[in-house]
């Protein structure tokens, strides 16, 4: 395959892209996608958030997962950076702290795909029984 060097190459590549249709279908169902937000303020970047985001993107592409990886700002958990927020449709968003590339892959495989609970969650919104009522 030739290397993509220009906008014209990009145009040609698009026509050859087998998954073009599935990519479009995915974007139409944005609300059904899992959303991973990597905190990328100064604290996150300095702690390695860029590597985590690159790892997640490669993983999502390799396994063709219905996941959108995006960036967020600092949530005040600078001590636990890199942090990522995982929002599975229909569930409360969960924030994981001290995420390196290995942890990121574990979160995708076990929490997102497998539905297991795993260590590393920063409790964000603790609700008492009264609050829930």
């Amino acid at each position: 395959m030739n290397k993509i060097r220009s906008l014209d190459d990009l145009r040609k590549m698009k026509q050859n892209l087998k998954s073009d249709i599935s990519i479009r279908e995915k974007s139409d169902k944005a609300e059904e996608m899992v959303r991973i937000r990597v905190a990328m303020a100064t604290c996150g970047i300095a702690a390695g958030a860029r590597d985590v985001m690159n790892t997640l993107l490669a993983k999502v592409e390799k396994d063709s997962l219905p996941v959108v990886v995006t960036q967020g700002g600092c949530m005040g958990y600078c001590y636990a950076e890199p942090t990522i927020e995982v929002a599975i449709p229909g569930k409360d968003p969960v924030v994981f702290g001290n995420v390196d590339s290995a942890k990121a892959l574990e979160i995708v495989d076990k929490y997102i795909v497998g539905g297991e609970l795993i260590d590393g969650v920063i409790p964000v919104n603790y609700q008492t029984i009264q609050e829930k009522l």
């Binding site: 290397k3 993509i4 998954s19 970047i45 300095a46 860029r50 999502v60």
Partner: protein, 175 residues
């Protein structure tokens, strides 16, 4: 911060927080002038002169989640330790330009890092902002923008990893 691409990732977040619609990342690499210059310009809400005077103070931040803001102070420190400087120009309601100059051959200048990767990560995470990369060397010049990429890809989502990899390859082969 291990490389200059990380600083770019970081400083562009300021422009995004300022509500910019267009963000220009300009990188000049001149062997002849022994200069590496990184300029991040936006059409966000801009700053008052008082704010400009304060932003490279680590104890200044607009956010409410914590009391320190290290993005610009770290960028300035990196520039100054590499024989350069950081300057900020801003007009309220018009936009802000942050420029950092480095001695290209200075022993303490961090490596550029993966500029194409920084561009694509920002592009994918902020598809609604027109992000322009302008890369200039003594011999060459390369320019690309979200708008042009969107036109070429005819509405394919820019946050799809496969699409991001294609864009990365395109940018990376030109810089």
């Amino acid at each position: 911060m291990n490389d200059l691409a990380m600083h770019i990732l970081d400083i562009v977040q300021n422009s995004i927080s300022a509500g910019a619609k267009n963000i220009w990342i300009e990188v000049l690499v001149s062997v002849a002038r022994d200069l590496l210059s990184i300029s991040i310009r936006d059409d966000g809400k801009g700053m008052t002169p008082e704010m400009i005077a304060k932003v490279t103070d680590p104890y200044c931040t607009t956010r409410t989640t914590r009391k320190v803001g290290l993005g610009l102070p770290l960028f300035r420190q990196t520039a100054e330790q590499a024989g350069g400087s950081l300057s900020i120009e801003s007009t309220l309601g018009v936009g802000t330009t942050v420029t950092a100059n480095f001695g290209l051959n200075h022993i303490d200048r961090p490596p550029m890092g993966d500029l194409a990767n920084a561009y694509v990560l920002l592009l994918g995470a902020n598809p609604d902002i027109n992000l322009i990369l302008h890369y200039v060397t003594d011999e060459n010049e390369f320019s690309v923008s979200t708008r042009e990429i969107n036109e070429a890809l005819d509405g394919l989502p820019l946050n799809d990893p496969q699409v991001m990899r294609m864009i990365y390859e395109m940018v990376e082969s030109n810089i």
